[in-house]
Point group: C2
Chain length 333, copies 2
């Protein structure tokens, strides 16, 4: 039996951090065996809202690839590939734009939210409005049926499937499969300040390359329960970043439950829970940092990984493009 095809990836706008690890990277490690997994270094999607900073987009192609290898993505089992070097994806994007209306793109809740969040107003780059069609090209180009997304991105997969249905209806055959959005059970990891989103620009992130000192400082600064002033006071677990992180990374569930109960009834200081979290994070990030440093000293290898993965991806996406063109009955030389 062939393995289900999974497409995921990251915009190359910055190195990845612990939030990415909790939200997606560690799931990808698990998928390496039971899925045919493609990781897209999405430099073209990064350009949709970073057109003025192509150098940043370029630089982070390597940073993100280093993060992938550092966490343990194995390029012999997972295909790491570069979006800008897969022309079939651009060709499918341009084709798909004819199968979606401007009104429909404008109604997309994800796009609406992001336009607001980025403060674009009326000056949305056309590429940004159109990126759901490009994402449909990414997903269908690989004929992926499984797409892990954040909860707020589920409408993008629905948009992809609408395009798939239109293409299939026009072609009169099921040339493209529909994709299923898989929303991770673990929620989003908050920043160390307890705010909902960990982000590099928010200054509340722990990068995957963080030094032992930086990890220590981050945990020390971490938001707990502002009402928990003395050790003997009862403390709150909800909204307490340290416990959210322990929930995400502490594998000793029973011990963690006991810790929580103790904290709730009082008598457990923030220093103790932070010490535990720090140990766990040092143990988690230590080997990642070491591997990342190792690969960063061998960029020829990293570039070769991207090159070979992109070659494989190029074949796969070009085959899909030809299938779609043939199914629609467009001219083929």
């Amino acid at each position: 039996m062939t393995k289900p095809v999974i497409l995921t990836g990251d915009r190359t706008t910055g190195p990845l951090h612990l939030g990415h690890y909790a939200g997606s990277l560690r799931t990808r490690l698990r998928h390496q065996d039971d899925h045919d997994q493609y990781l897209l270094l999405a430099d073209m999607q990064a350009m949709t809202d970073n057109a003025q900073e192509p150098a940043k987009v370029r630089r982070n192609v390597i940073e993100v690839a280093l993060d992938y290898l550092a966490v343990g993505i194995d390029p012999t089992r997972t295909t790491i590939c570069l979006q800008s070097h897969l022309p079939a994806l651009a060709e499918l994007s341009m084709l798909y734009l004819n199968f979606v209306t401007v009104a429909r793109l404008e109604r997309n809740p994800t796009i609406k939210d992001e336009i607001r969040a980025r403060g674009f107003g009326r000056d949305i780059p056309a590429g940004f409005l159109c990126y759901p069609a490009a994402q449909a090209a990414d997903i269908t180009g690989f004929k992926a049926t499984v797409v892990p997304v954040g909860e707020d991105q589920a409408p993008l997969i629905e948009q992809t499937n609408e395009i798939v249905r239109r293409i299939n209806a026009t072609a009169g055959s099921d040339v493209l499969p529909e994709a299923q959005a898989v929303i991770p059970k673990s929620g989003r990891l908050p920043g160390i300040d307890g705010r909902t989103k960990m982000s590099k620009s928010g200054g509340n992130a722990i990068p995957l390359s963080a030094s032992p000192d930086a990890i220590r400082a981050a945990v020390k600064a971490m938001f707990t329960d502002p009402g928990h002033l003395r050790v003997e006071d009862p403390g709150r677990i909800e909204g307490n970043a340290v416990f959210t992180y322990l929930d995400a990374f502490d594998e000793e569930e029973t011990a963690l439950e006991e810790l929580k109960a103790h904290y709730r009834r009082g008598g457990l200081g923030d220093g103790t829970i932070k010490k535990r979290l720090e140990e766990i994070l040092q143990e988690l990030i230590g080997p990642i940092r070491t591997r990342r440093k190792h690969y960063a000293e061998d960029l020829t290898y990293v570039i070769d990984v991207i090159r070979r993965g992109t070659e494989r991806a190029r074949e796969r996406t070009e085959t899909t493009r030809r299938d779609v063109v043939a199914a629609l009955g467009l001219f083929q030389l």
Copy 2:
């Protein structure tokens, strides 16, 4: 000295007619020697408002190519190429979409008019709204500096040049040249019914493959001066399709001026001027029809012409794409 590069072409939505001959094809014949001329069979642009009819778009790739060869386009001097087979154009299109806002595309007068004319309302295909960016990719992909356009399309070239200036500003170098719109002196040829636009769908066109009988019938049915009832009546030249056609195709200028004067003062019947026009059109279209029939019987040759031209165009457009990516400093494997 290198010749100026000229890009022009046609959407592959139907065979060409006498209006195309007067408006663009015969100018292209003249450009074969003094320009490096590319003719784009624009099947992807055709899809922007014909997405439901890919078979029509496919079929007309050959029809338009036949028209080119039939009027005397020489594939050793002019490059005939197929848009859908030039991936660099799709890649540049997707890139350029990040350098133009949705608001700017919506303000484009050509797009506004065409949205109205096609009755799209709010349901504009995104590909249609975005086609000025695709056209910018076509033009700059060939580094064309001369672009012949109808008067109503001049804003599209301005749009292209805006994108060029943004790319150059971001790159910090003049990687792309600006293009100049060349608007033909001869106005648009009216339909045989005297209406301003000759079009196949309007049923008022004379196709380049018209038979002698069809030409005769078309001229016979042609709109003249509805007030010119008896031969001895004075007749009007303005709005008289027969004279507009004579202006376009009669090369004996002095004789034509005398004919006009005679018609104006009366004593010249519609039959006489139509006879003259019919002779001219039979003489013009006859050899075109013969050549078209000849090539239609040798489709292997026609496809080979498209294939070889597309190969040449692929190299040129891919070089441009690489230049742009390098100038912007995006990642290159």
